[in-house]
Amino acid sequence: MTDSKYFTTTKKGEIFELKAELNSDKKEKKKEAVKKVIASMTVGKDVSALFPDVVNCMQTDNLELKKLVYLYLMNYAKSQPDMAIMAVNTFVKDCEDPNPLIRALAVRTMGCIRVDKITEYLCEPLRKCLKDEDPYVRKTAAVCVAKLHDINAQLVEDQGFLDTLKDLISDSNPMVVANAVAALSEIAESHPNSNLLDLNPQSINKLLTALNECTEWGQIFILDCLANYAPRDDRESQSICERVTPRLSHANSAVVLSAVKVLMKFMEMLPKDLDYYGTLLKKLAPPLVTLLSAEPELQYVALRNINLIVQKRPEILKHEMKVFFVKYNDPIYVKLEKLDIMIRLASQANIAQVLAELKEYATEVDVDFVRKAVRAIGRCAIKVEQSAERCVSTLLDLIQTKVNYVVQEAIVVIKDIFRKYPNKYESVIATLCENLDSLDEPEARAAMIWIVGEYAERIDNADELLESFLEGFHDESTQVQLQLLTAIVKLFLKKPTETQELVQQVLSLATQDSDNPDLRDRGYIYWRLLSTDPVAAKEVVLAEKPLISEETDLIEPTLLEELICHIGTLASVYHKPPSAFVEGSRGVMHKRLPARTGSGESTESPDVGTIAGGSGTETAPSIIPSQGDLLGDLLNLDLAPPTTTGPPPPTSGMQMGGMDLLGGGLDSLLGGDIGGSAAMGAGFGAVPAVMPASLNAPMGGGLGDLFDLGGGVGMPLGAYIPPKTVWLPAMKAKGLEISGTFARRAGVIQMELTLTNKAMSVMTDFAIQFNRNSFGLAPAGPLQVLSPLSPNQTIEVSLPLSTVGPVMKMEPLNNLQVAVKNNIDVFYFSCQYPISMLFVEDGKMERQVFLATWKDIPNENESQFQIKDCHLNSDAASNKLQASNIFTIAKRTVEGQDMLYMSIKLSNGIWVLAELRVQTGNPNYTDLEISVKCRAPEVSQCVFQCCEAVLKN
């Protein structure tokens, strides 16, 4: 007897019959009926009407029947919440069953019933099951917490399940540990800021122990969780790597890839000269190659990941070119990916082999694959100069085959080769021209026209060729039209006598008969240029072109870093950040690779990515993402007293601690070989690198005093910059998301913005305006968004601000109303800036003046504040404040209290005086008291807030 018969009951009145059978007295008949119901459910019939009858079958000691009823319940409970309550009793009873399998089954199923009323009843049984004596029940209950959290997060927190779950990480059973880790990781993802997982060396050790013992799936959960940990220093990083590497020999490819992810991430922290670093690199190659003998679907996942790994660390697989050769029977998706990796690995050493392969592929059947192979030959030519000649001759051979799409593709890439190696291969133009008629794709036509125009002086009949294209001008695509216009103008500039008529014809076609504004504009520009100043026209149109870059299709470095953190996951398959395809808050948190830290220094912050390099010459981070935000982190750091970077130069800007100084310092220290000097510049926006020198003057005096006061304080800190917050959510601005912060760098106030395009269309024409505000802040220049912002792209802009704009008092004082415009609409938002931005560098008052002013300001203008839980001594506090232009003028110690007297000058000339009391004698008393005096008492509150923010960060 088989089950397939249940699929074939399609009679009318079926539901009625089933109802009767379900209520039958005979057990067998009941079971048969439930099976029929499940079969109907599977094929998509609505059997929800049978709900009460099916639930009635639940009270049974037949496990198979029970499971079927549960399956039904999971499907229909949501549509019949009131009736679902009927099932609760059985669940609660089952959770007490002596058989652990039944207890687990009950708690597992109960979690899948997403009905509020049921979840209430679930809490007690779940609590018991989490502490059940049987590991099978505990591991099921651990997952159930994640289920419940998905339904009602608040309930889970209120009931304290999260703590119980955390305890399970120390469970004696490895599978319980693995499931608890999986559940916690998932819950933590929806609370990006909660420190739920709280990974520390002890818990990591537990995970690593469980790793050796649990199932393959459990190993994946644990490795994926480990990847989110940020080791404190290179030693810890190395020891974790050592314990993870054995996983590379696991038969499960997902275990291997997750282990690769952990290693790729933690490797960032290892010093490159370490022997272990080299060993690790060598260990990574074989397992990656082995992944290619897995089933094709897994091969595809592996190849997409290898593509990332090869971009990040080309050295790992540089000798493994052969394994990426395409096999005749590979599925097309595997073939295309292999081809991509072959090009990335192509080098002078292996280019001969690669070319021979590519030529072979160009004769295959699949059109996409062939095109890509042809294109790849061109890319090899551009990448490996020595091979260019051979590539060109291979391409010419392919053109001779006369296969239409091969020829077109070849012409497109030959154009690029001309760009890369000017005046070298133009002898082939004649051959190209022979194929003019067969070109029917816009890209190929445009490429060919470009070639004709560019080398018009060497092609005798260039005018005839171009004229032939001109006949169907209006039927061409824009790409071709633009190219044709330019080519004919070039031709005219090179052979003015014969082609006057032609150029007039194309100019009138472009300007008068075309609807395309781009084309018209370009036409007019040429026309005017030619008519007013032909010499200038020549310089413009025939200007020398910049060389094209060698590597194309590279993933942008910040994205690459993020994707490396997602090895093995869908993000790595799509080559897109999770936020691009995951809805809601999950996975939106951006992950970053850790930077290196020397083991000698300790950093406090445990968050991923915020740990940045120390300050030594050697330990400076070897990778600096081109985004400015890491730099922010770098400077926000509590740098421990410097592990000396050589004797501090007495007048050097290095010791002065402004942000830009550190930047400049790093730059000069490393002689630019950090590969990030340009990127650093970008991070600073408009701040030029020469800033240190100009800054010496205003800050020098203060610095001297500072050292007097502190008595040999270490390196001063960077000014406080609040973390970026979202000012304008994408929901409110048709897909444009703006987050940002403010910073004062080298005396320039900057608004640092991150613009993200979450819409489907490209955004252009950005502009920004401020409403009148308390301190007259206004943009000092236009918003520099030069290139259009494509969907899912993010850019960082920094906008210098001036304080000479119109003034109007705002509530609160530091409120700023902003309007941002783009091609879609105008959006408004308001944000608050830390007032410390407005503190100017020459805000240090003479002692005498300070005393006089303090007395002069009436006492009712004095406000007092407390800063709770601040573990700073007076020197450290003074240093921190100093970095934000809050200057300490004098220090006094009275009865175990340090009194610091400080002055601040705002950009509009208002002076603020402050007195800070620090308890030095009593370590338990960690509150600071601050009194602020100012002629304009409104600012006191803001000043206090900002002092607190500075001191606490």
Partner: protein, 440 residues
Amino acid sequence: MIGGLFIYNHKGEVLISRVYRDDIGNRRHAVDAFRVNVIHARQQVRSPVTNIARTSFFHVKRSNIWLAAVTKQNVNAAMVFEFLYKMCDVMAAYFGKISEENIKNNFVLIYELLDEILDFGYPQNSETGALKTFITQQGIKGQHQTKEEQSQITSQVTGQIGWRREGIKYRRNELFLDVLESVNLLMSPQGQVLSAHVSGRVVMKSYLSGMPECKFGMNDKIVIDKAGKGGVTDDVAKSTTGKQSIAIDDCTFNQCVRLSKFDSERSISFIPPDGEYELMRYRTTKDIILPFRVIPLVREVGRTKLEVKVVIKSNFKPSLLAQKIEVRIPTPLNTSGVQVICMKGKAKYKASENAIVWKIKRMAGMKESQISAEIELLPTNDKKKWARPPISMNFEVPFAPSGLKVRYLKVFESKLNYSDHDVIKWVRYIGRSGIYETRC
């Protein structure tokens, strides 16, 4: 994590549908989206992962059955595919071939399995050995178990040795080791090896009592060299193998093998699952014995005729015999007729496969054989030249082309009264062709 799992037949009808998470939305929509965009897609599927309306679908196909996993999250993609393969293995272990009929016949069982091995989209223990102790087609075992039996089941399912149960007893302790290799080759028409590798598997069938501790040794270069340096030379390895040792590029192990021990000492120790399983996989690329060499000669005589001559040479000890030899010579699509002459075996032109298939039952080492064919072509005006797919070969040889030799497999069971000597051990080597191609 995995939001749902669907199984379809070739027509796109759903046979099994299990939803684990609400985020994938309406079940019907998800089911239909995959059917419309993948199963019924007009073009050939270009990727095993498809994103439809911000929902990702992973699929694998077994004969004409589609398995699709659905998710809305950034899941571990490698894990999802591994799980789908595992699901196929589990189903096959329960009811044999994965076919529409078998799935319909066992749909209750499949739902039960899906409930057990995937919880809220997280894969759980999926070892068939363990599953079969409590998920049975009778489904009523639950009631008749004693408390001890129940806790034994749960501790096995969740335990460190989830793949083996306690208390296994055999009258005769016996084990079979199969070294199965597939040798892959891509050769240029001129006889230059473009790429060659062996991917091998060691498959073990163990019928051992108790909880035996096993140690497996082979002529791994790293181990032999280490032993040699230590002054202990292994006579067995020297006398039984022509080559002393082989360089293994990489190997992966069944989850029973203690990986940390392999990493530190390169020794392979484990407690084996009962019955048949794959102990390890490995890959070698150095010093491979290529059992056959194919020498093609294709000549185009005018536009309507091709002359093909193919010589195969066997390259192993004359005392050994290769079996099931098959050479597949592709022919152009516009072939109208073929005349074949071969010295040995049988050759036939198969129009439906666009190939001449030449079969030889047996062939000894160090021999050669030849086939020549005249192919008549219909004149076409197709400009594109024939792509000339490579000539491929299939065979089976009774040795390991990588040179791998099993040195020992020691069995220790301290609690029961049998020793390593009492275990009957069988070792067999089979080399098969993987993708064995010569371009022409």
